[in-house]
Amino acid sequence: MSVQSTTPRPVAANSVWPQLESLLPQVTKPIQYVGGELGAVVKDWDAAAVRWALMYPDAYEVGLPNQGVQILYEVLNELPDVLAERTYAVWPDLEKLMRAHRVPQFTVDAHRPVRDFDVFGISFATELGYTNLLTAIDLAGIPLLAADRTDADPVVLAGGHAAFNPEPIADFIDAAVLGDGEEAVLEITAIVREWKAEGCPGGRDELLLRLARTESVYVPRFYDVDYLPDGRIQRVVPNRADVPFRVHKRTTMDLDAWPYPKKPLVPLAETVHERYAVEIFRGCTRGCRFCQAGMITRPVRERSITTVGQMVQEGLEFSGFHEVGLLSLSSADHSEIGDMCSGLAEQYAGTNVSLSLPSTRVDAFNIDLAQELSRNGRRTGLTFAPEGGSERIRKVINKMVSKDDLIRTVVTAYTNGWRQVKLYFMCGLPTETDDDVLEIADMAHEVIRAGRAATGSKDIRCTVSIGGFVPKPHTPFQWAAMERPEVIDGRLKLLKQAINADRSLGRAIGFRYHDGEPSLIEGLLSRGDRRVGAVIRKVWENGGRFDGWSEHFSYQRWVDAAAEVLPAFGVDLDWYTTRERDELEVLPWDHLDSGLDKDWLWQDWQDSLSEYEQDDCRWTPCFDCGVCPAMDTEIQIGPTGKKLLPLTPVNGLKLPAGTQQ
């Protein structure tokens, strides 16, 4: 099914629009492919010294709002001699037509072929985008395997959280960057610019070598993996003397110096989030042991209240959005969140701007914030994430919330006028038993009972939402065994029965869950090594696309591909997923440095098994996770003591910045 890359690379990049346009009436939601959003940038191709194609490997409606891509798009396009355009995964209907009419993977900005760019950067929030990567590479006319590429092909560069273990896609990418992208893309741009200005000495290999020598760009081809007879990895070592043994993650310090996005993209098509999103801080040291994001983004770096205020003001003025999301991994933990919320609520009182604060903790403070934010009368739902059903399992995962706290918090929400509360849990956690999961039902029953008593009303509801646990690299659970999908599904069935065992209470409780099968495959991809690449390729050849979408995901396709490919290596699907690793096993990502000390991670894993909790280093002494000294970083938190001032009301019409009247 692969398209042969026989067409020579054109001298000047031609827009594929003339060929694409006639295909669009035949596909669903064609507007997602036309570009032209407010905030989009189209630059002169020939005037650019370095050209980036940036991809979020999912459908436009999911990919467009992605913060990472928007930030890098803007950072790169601010450079006068650099051009960055965006591309997204095309739906199978358009893919089919593109193959039939030989239209290559294109950018939405100027509809240029992705193969014409210098760097093709893909941001992976989740491993389930891997098959979409292969589609994009193949549609672009780029050879699927990095080893087959020539100087006519862009450098295929992976980033995002999944890039902390890019080994399963090591054969398909040329390089990967770990950590924050703002400075990394500038450094890579400088290297590409210089190499091109010198006349591309040494070709592709030399460019990749220069990138590898930064010690923060991982080039898989320069590392060999040796295996033990039992299938485990023996070692991962450089195959040449001039590349580093370990590749380190990037950390952007001082978020106030990087106030992006300034000019958020405003889509013409419908997307999953239509809001101005501003990160109020990066990193999290709550220490939830399942949470890869919290582990790999340390230390905590706050954006100051005044920068946030200014970004919101300018972002709304530019975009015309009516919703603001204050994003982070645990937004209520910002040292000035109270003043931030009340200040913004005050500034936008009486307007149609609504504020939202996702990712909050389970405590009453959170309700104060939510009340502040709903001053305009719009009440969004409240979500609390105790994650584990029993006190015991919450100690295992280091989610320090007691049952009493939770019930008190939810009841406070009900008495303050919320009618609907969502509770988020995980199933399949290490050491979990049926009883741990069944306690979710007790908790939900008690929430409703206490809520009814406190409000005197039967008109309150809660939704119990369950996600499947997936062990991730660079977390204390990186050694853990996954539970089998049928065990997970069995537990969820028991839980559903337990919730509905009391019919009166059960009626007020919604139950949402995902079954265990997709999680197992995500587990294969997240902790896989280079041998898993053959499974991904097989699945893709058999039609695997959009694996993050339940209507497209096929568990059987993955099981079949694994069974076909893995035995040759002496391993199987279970070996990667339901097998617990021991302390000395070489993990596929050990040569990739997130800053976390592996001994500390192991100790935290042992603490988890003995149900010992670990506090947050922002308000207790450092517990030596290793990140700050290894990365030469430090915690950057307030309070600054500053306040948000009232805005001067804006009268009359505003033209978007950068446009001519």
């Binding site: 006639s22 009436p25 407010l38 149609n352 009359g652 019409l653 033209l655 978007p656 446009t659 001519q660």
Partner: protein
């Protein structure tokens, strides 16, 4: 711009589109109404909207509404349908058959499911353009061109329904997707001409003089 919002739990900006062109169809004549909180110079409003919209979405004019609903002034549309690789003689036969028919039942998927309706009655005029007219896009491709004037009815009869009608009466099957552009829409005069629906506001005249 000081846009007005609807009341209620989730306020929405007050914008209403009158008979928007279907997806995949070009248009030179779309109209919409915007509710504002305060009076604004229409020329400034036009500039601000045009600057915020994508290239190719050009805001040409804005007038202050004198009253009456915009939707009531949209009585008909003129469409240009370019049919690459269609033999003009075959198209002419199809148009003749179409014109001669009293009623042509066609089918289309709507949000309510598959519907069957008459595509003939709403068509006020259906003309082939002389071959001297060059089609837009690729000039090398031989191409037959239709212009149709279709009355705004319910369920709406769209250009693809007219093409379905040509298939039903004469078996016309365009080998490649047609390129359709809406050229005008508005009120319909007794002579079958389409009048810009904003004219009434420009003249200060009120609607209902037709």
């Amino acid at each position: 711009m000081p846009i007005a919002f609807s009341q209620g739990f989730t306020p929405h900006p007050k914008i209403s589109y009158a008979s928007a062109a279907p997806t995949g169809v070009g248009s030179e004549a779309e109209y919409l109404e915007i509710g504002l909180r305060e009076p604004v110079d229409p020329a400034r409003l036009r500039d601000a909207l045009d600057a915020a919209l994508s290239p190719g979405l050009d805001v040409l004019d804005a007038v202050e509404a004198a009253g009456g609903s915009l939707a009531d002034r949209i009585e008909a549309s003129r469409w240009r349908i370019e049919l690459p690789d269609v033999d003009p003689a075959a198209l002419e036969r199809a148009v003749t058959a179409f014109t001669a028919a009293g009623e042509i039942q066609v089918e289309r998927m709507t949000k309510q499911g598959r519907r069957t309706f008459d595509a003939r009655a709403a068509v006020i005029a259906i003309d082939m353009l002389p071959p001297s007219e060059t089609p837009s896009g690729e000039p090398a491709v031989p191409c037959a061109i239709l212009e149709v004037v279709v009355r705004q009815v319910t369920p709406s009869v769209r250009p693809d329904d007219v093409l379905s009608g040509l298939r039903v009466v004469a078996g016309l099957e365009p080998p490649v997707p047609p390129r359709v552009t809406r050229l005008a829409q508005g009120t319909l005069t007794a002579q079958g001409e389409i009048v810009d629906p904003l004219d009434a506001d420009r003249d200060g005249a009120t609607i209902g003089e037709r």
